[in-house]
């Protein structure tokens, strides 16, 4: 932070004349760049190393050592990991959990947010506080009671192989939804509160009911926040490790993030396969991140900036 003067002109155009010592005007910020480049390299090393390891056949790393450039580079490990690790089914399971969880979360959170932010009633702030607090609890606090509740919730064997809610996607989807509703309600209620009141007043005068105000007026206006939260929630629920670990016992039902735990045992001594498996797991989030980085960042900061 050696440059006092250049930073003062904040907005991108920087049309205001720079003040201060004339000498600093031309001084490029080598120090800052050097620091940032070193940090970037450090930051990329773990991912880069995983990629490097994944691209090399095990036989070659055994022969030349892991830290060497000898031998072939190819995608064979990815193909092997894909079939041996059963990634097709792991990723499908993730999809089965993520899609309904995100839809239910946004649907219920937007209804709740609409009711607490657009109307005033006795417990609206109390309920909003309860929702927000619920999202902040460590999940492990709820583990034992939820496990017992689901174990003792009997279902016909045609619906669930375990005869209960355990080892089913219902359990994971329900708890993921419940856990994420709090955060989304908080963010959406702040967003909806900021929408002008006149728009729903006008609709109200025209005889639009509550549902119409919610679905036809407020929801379309909330779309930017919904998009940002949707992106964020897809990544968060995809990345969730704990709930499937707790509720799902059959390896073939696990989503990919939790399944990775088992693969670690399966690929034990084969770091090349493990690295390939890890990279495969990153790919879906990477695609979402690259395509919707702006939404993802917006989702994160929406929650924080209104705090």
């Amino acid at each position: 932070m050696s440059t006092t003067t250049t930073r003062a002109a904040a907005p991108a155009g920087a049309t205001t004349p720079r003040r201060g010592k004339p000498g600093s005007l031309a001084r490029p910020r080598y120090g800052i760049h050097l620091f940032l480049i070193i940090m970037s390299v450090l930051w990329l090393i773990p991912l880069g190393w995983a990629m490097f390891t994944a691209l090399r056949p095990k036989a070659d790393t055994d022969k030349f050592g892991y830290f060497s450039f000898g031998g072939a580079f190819n995608f064979d490990n990815f193909a092997t990991a894909w079939t041996q690790g059963g990634f097709a089914s792991l990723l499908t399971n993730s999809l089965i959990i993520v899609v309904p969880s995100v839809i239910f979360t946004l649907l219920f959170a937007s209804m709740m947010a609409f009711a607490v932010s657009r109307f005033s009633w006795k417990f609206n702030v109390t309920l909003l506080i309860m929702f927000t607090a619920g999202n902040l609890l460590p999940p492990q606090v709820l583990a034992a009671p939820l496990f017992q509740m689901f174990k003792n919730f009997e279902l016909p064997y045609s619906v669930s192989g375990s005869g209960s809610l355990l080892n089913t996607y219902f359990a994971v989807i329900a708890v993921d939804t419940a856990f994420q509703i709090g955060f989304c309600t908080f963010v959406l209620s702040n967003y909806m509160k900021a929408l002008p009141h006149d728009i729903t007043e006008a609709a109200f005068v025209d005889g639009a009911g509550v549902w119409r105000q919610y679905w036809a007026i407020i929801m379309p206006l909330t779309r930017p926040a919904l998009a940002a939260l949707g992106t964020l929630e897809v990544i968060w629920i995809y990345n969730d490790f704990f709930w499937p670990l707790l509720f799902i016992q059959s390896g073939n039902l696990l989503p990919v993030t939790t399944g990775l735990n088992n693969l670690q045992g399966q690929f034990l001594s084969n770091y090349n396969l493990m690295a390939a498996g890890a990279i495969i797991t990153v790919i879906p989030t990477l695609i979402i991140y690259l395509a919707l980085q702006r939404q993802f960042v917006a989702g994160l900061t929406l929650g924080a900036s209104k705090g």
Binding site: S40, W43, M112, K122, L136, P138, E201
Partner: protein, 316 residues
């Protein structure tokens, strides 16, 4: 949900009273039913899947139970707590590790994220690329971070020991396996993610700071450091509070990364991991696990309550 007249906007926003005030009592019967349903369903989900289990968790901490038949539940008073405090060896290390986790994130990871945000906020060339790089670990799961760093830290095949020149020698450190160092190795991996998270939040905060404040400070002859600590940082107070809360909560919630390394044993004990160790596995000592969960709950409620009371003070 009792009926109250008034206006959400006037109460919460306060600033602009609208001409026609919304009265709940003006709603038709059908609208009230719709609105009640919109509140009822999400609230029921929250109660049944979050708050009732939380209460049950506290209740279970006062019983002895193996988790099988309900008829086996025996009252235990405070026995689970005295057991944890006196006869349960992993508890105190776990508590220390949780505190260490918090201190490390607060002293190393969070300031690092703030520093990156400050540097990247200066219209620096390639700022977007740097941001994408530092932010990339935030989208990874902590499980994946554990796996990726395992490859980096591995005793004989990891990059770190190659770079240190100890690979293959008896001096090679097993970074995730050695109980003297593995907590630090895990903390560095956690920092990798946390710093990027903090950076992106502060970048948003810095963008929101009024440029005229900086102009005024620089006109008054303040240098960059003075401007930042005396003006910019205090102005970002709302973000600072969020960051403090996130840092505390993350350190209490830390679980995935130690669980994937060794299930939170042998130098990596954390309260959250101990909870799970007592609930699953052979023992199934639900009472002890629940008592640990209750301790975790009480500790967590401190930052949660502080955060909520600050956030909702203006509304209440």
């Amino acid at each position: 949900m009792s009926v109250i007249t008034g206006d959400a906007q006037a109460k919460a926003g306060g600033a602009k009273p609208s001409g026609l005030r919304r009265r709940y009592s003006l709603l038709t019967r059908r609208d009230k039913v719709v609105l009640a349903a919109m509140v009822f369903v999400p609230t029921l989900i929250q109660l049944v899947l979050i708050w009732i289990p939380t209460i049950i968790s506290v209740l279970l901490s006062f019983v002895r139970w193996n988790g099988l038949a309900f008829s086996d539940i025996r009252p235990a008073g405070l026995a689970n707590y005295t057991f944890i405090l006196q006869d349960y060896p992993p508890f105190w290390p776990a508590l220390q590790h949780n505190v260490l986790w918090l201190v490390f994130l607060a002293v190393i990871a969070t300031p690092l994220g703030l520093l990156l945000a400050i540097l990247l906020d200066q219209n620096i060339r390639g700022s977007r690329i740097y941001q994408s790089i530092f932010f990339a670990p935030v989208m990874l799961s902590l499980v994946l971070i554990g796996v990726i760093w395992q490859l980096f830290y591995s005793q004989n095949n990891g990059l770190l020991n190659f770079l240190l020149g100890t690979s293959g020698t008896p001096q090679a450190v097993d970074w995730f396996g050695n109980p003297d160092v593995n907590i630090w190795a895990a903390l560095i991996a956690a920092t990798w993610r946390h710093a990027g998270y903090v950076m992106i939040l502060y970048l948003a905060g810095l963008k929101g700071v009024d440029a005229s404040l900086r102009e005024a400070a620089s006109l008054d002859g303040a240098n960059a450091v003075q401007t930042f600590f005396r003006i910019i940082f205090p102005v970002m107070r709302p973000i600072n509070i969020v960051i403090v809360v996130i840092t505390i909560i993350e350190s209490l919630r830390a679980f995935d990364i130690v669980y994937i390394i060794n299930r939170g044993t042998n130098g990596l004990e954390l309260i959250s991991a101990l909870v799970i160790q007592n609930l699953v596995g052979e023992g199934q000592v639900i009472g002890v696990g629940s008592a640990l969960a209750a301790i975790l709950l009480v500790v967590s409620l401190v930052p949660i309550v502080i955060y909520l009371s600050r956030t909702f003070k203006k509304d209440a």
